[in-house]
């Protein structure tokens, strides 16, 4: 008997793994970034 390789199944598994690893990184929005920046004490732009 020949063993059938299900390419579709393999591709699906790879895709699932990829999406899982993508989700591991915390995605931020522009609003989140602006909040982080507002919380940070100002000073970087200032020159003397």
């Amino acid at each position: 008997m020949q063993e059938k390789i299900d390419l579709k199944q393999i591709l699906q598994e790879i895709e699932e793994e990829n999406s899982l690893s993508r989700e591991k990184k915390t995605k931020v929005s522009q609003d989140d970034i602006q909040k982080i920046l507002q919380e940070k004490p100002k000073g970087e732009v200032e020159e003397n």
Binding site: K27, V28, I33, I36, L37, E44, V45
Partner: protein, 138 residues
């Protein structure tokens, strides 16, 4: 009439179409284009040469990425104003850039109007600083 000094902007992005877009934003805001870099290494070299008031810096670039370039530039020029403009939407990159002294972090996924607005606000703040008298009083 007084001759206004324009804010000099350096653009660093490996993507040609992004550079073109930002170039249009820069000229639309009446800012001066100091130059364009295609990678981090070039950004550092051009920064040294042109000493721009503002650097718009991408992260994902060949040879030297934007975070390394930011580190090098801020190490050499602690007062450098660097605005990140990137598609890297992860907290680690945002935090790293802010810790290294980037004044803002714009996601490329934002509408162009929003990107334009952040650049404009940063340029205005810079202009106010350069025009302010040296006195440290209110």
């Amino acid at each position: 009439m007084s001759s206004e000094r324009k804010i000099k902007v350096l653009i660093a992005d490996d993507e040609k179409h992004i550079r073109l877009l930002i170039r249009k934003v820069v000229s639309g805001l009446n800012l001066e284009l100091a130059g364009e870099a295609e990678n981090g290494k070039e950004a550092v070299q051009l920064f040294r040469k042109e000493k721009p008031d503002l650097l718009l810096l991408d992260i994902y670039m060949p040879y030297m990425n934007g975070i390394e370039a930011l580190k090098e530039i801020r190490g050499e020029f602690p007062n450098a104003t660097v605005l990140m403009l990137t598609s890297a939407a992860d907290m680690e990159s945002v935090q790293k850039c802010i810790d290294l002294g980037a004044v803002n972090y714009i996601l490329k996924s934002n509408p162009i109007a929003e990107i334009r607005q952040i650049i404009e606000e940063t340029a205005k703040a810079l202009k106010a600083q350069t025009e302010a008298p040296d006195a440290g009083e209110d």
